[in-house]
């Protein structure tokens, strides 16, 4: 009897798990498949196969201009977020001071504040000080602030296991503070920096919420432009663009998997 329960219980769990795992990949597979359709409207499965929508995507001016905007914003904001993340992680890993809790809370606050609030609050300020037309700058600022918690967490956890005495030994042997950091600490936290940078880049490149508010005028990002095309343009070009974004994300995903492992996501 117990055996029967065990087997049917396990079977039920397996069936449900497989269903929901299929659910998780379904929209991705469908997007990829329908981007190769030969027809002028979207159906799944497609009536025939062709790459015409990829050609159409590559020929579209909006795809290229917004793609470059997105890359520039992601690269610059990731670089700043990594620098801020290293500094903040070092403060939190090495120092105890009055207000340390408040410092941690401040730096992690973008995880608490809803994205629409960050986006609208920054837009509100930029209108007030009349910088709302500096779209790229506003987007870089917004993305930097929101991705710094990711770089902080990832660098911080890679600092946690480090032996402080190594750095102190180097300093007592005559190394300056800077050279002790660069020669001892930095090599040890490189995995954390790489993981944090990849997560920050991916977040920035794919973000819609904050970008929807800040790129309202100029300097639209690829996801925001894609969003308006999905709303108004019923041809399958957005499917091809979406598929290209999936492939780019997959490249970064595999990079994380090969370099630091998927644990960086699971440990959160």
């Amino acid at each position: 009897m117990a055996d029967f329960f065990l087997r049917s219980g396990r079977g039920l769990v397996t069936v449900m798990a497989v269903f929901w795992l299929v659910f998780l990949v379904a929209p991705i597979v469908v997007t990829l498949a329908s981007s190769f359709t030969s027809s002028t409207y979207l159906t799944f499965p497609p009536p025939g196969w062709s790459v015409r929508w990829y050609l159409s995507a590559f020929e579209s001016e909006w795809v290229w201009s917004t793609f470059w905007n997105s890359v520039v914003i992601a690269v610059v904001s990731t670089a700043i977020a990594v620098a801020l993340g290293i500094a903040a992680a070092r403060v939190l890993a090495r120092h105890r001071f009055y207000g340390r809790g408040a410092f941690e809370y401040a730096v992690l606050s973008p995880l608490i504040i809803p994205g629409v609030v960050v986006g609208f609050a920054l837009l509100n300020v930029s209108v007030l000080i009349e910088t709302q037309d500096a779209g790229l700058l506003n987007l870089i600022i917004g993305h930097t602030m929101v991705t710094t918690p990711f770089t902080l967490r990832s660098v911080w956890s890679s600092m946690a296991g480090n032996d402080l005495s190594l750095e102190e030994a180097a300093q007592s042997l005559g190394a300056t503070r800077w050279s002790a950091f660069w020669l001892i600490v930095f090599p040890l936290i490189v995995p954390g920096i790489v993981a944090g940078a990849i997560i920050a880049f991916t977040f920035s490149f794919n973000d819609v919420t904050i970008s929807a508010f800040l790129s309202a005028r100029e300097a639209r990002t690829l996801p925001v432009e894609l969003m308006s095309h999905i709303e108004y343009l019923p041809d399958p070009t957005p499917a091809a663009v979406s598929s290209l974004m999936i492939v780019i994300t997959l490249a970064f995903f595999l990079l994380v998997e090969r370099t630091v492992g998927l644990g960086v996501f699971a440990d959160r």
């Binding site: 497989v18 990949v25 997007t31 090495r94 509100n124 819609v208 969003m227 994300t249 699971a266």
Partner: protein
Amino acid sequence: MKAGRFPASLATPVLLAFAVFIVAPCVMLLVKGLEPTAETGEWPDFTNVLGVFDSKIGQQALNRTIRISLIVTAVCMLAGYPVALFISRCGPRWRGLLLAVVIFPFLISAVVRAFGWTVLLGDSGLANKGLIALGLIERPIALVQNEIGIIVGETHLLMPYMILSLLAVLQRIDPNLRHAAESLGASPVSVFWRIVIPLTLPGLLTGTLLVFSLAMTAFATPFLLGGGRTPILTTLLYDYAFTLFDWRLAAAIGIVLLILGILFVTIHRFVSSRGMRSYG
């Protein structure tokens, strides 16, 4: 850990950035949202913030936000548990692959995922075709541009958080506990109910709070899958900001969302510190 002095040279640039670009804008939002509506009014004026709950559209959006978030959380719980259990029981090879299946969608842009769902849930999409083939419906029903679309999209968006929270606790369960219970005569069913479930409660709670708070504040998914007629708080904020140009009301909704965000993190911190204590 060095004790004492404030590490000014390292901490100041970071603090400055957050003060200028996060704290100050949020304070400005507060100022804007509490601006007096009447010429003679005084600051702070709570009319707008309370108006979010008073106006018909605001109330509908609030109710819809809560309703959708509750349903999404429940579905994520019921769906995420078997998935996490299944993955935790797999061998290392399969576990790696399935973990990738869970984590990968979570990195893809919300726009792209919503797009996939519009294709799947559309009138001639696979979901409608499947339901017709099963004989459950006769003609295609509307699955997007309404609450169903938002629920499906948000479930897809947030289920990975639930699965990862559950996996974190499932992997920490000592297999000896199960062996001990079984050797003492416990049936697999009672091992599940009396050992696995109680030990995974902290993870379930973390996942639930995370999913619920993220469901309340999701934007792109409800924007694309809900259409114009089913606003939730976040998309209503966007509408006020960009189509109705009433920034005072938009700021008021922002304040409500900000309070909700802080509330959930506080509950989360409280619960997780309690949870850690009672479950070791």
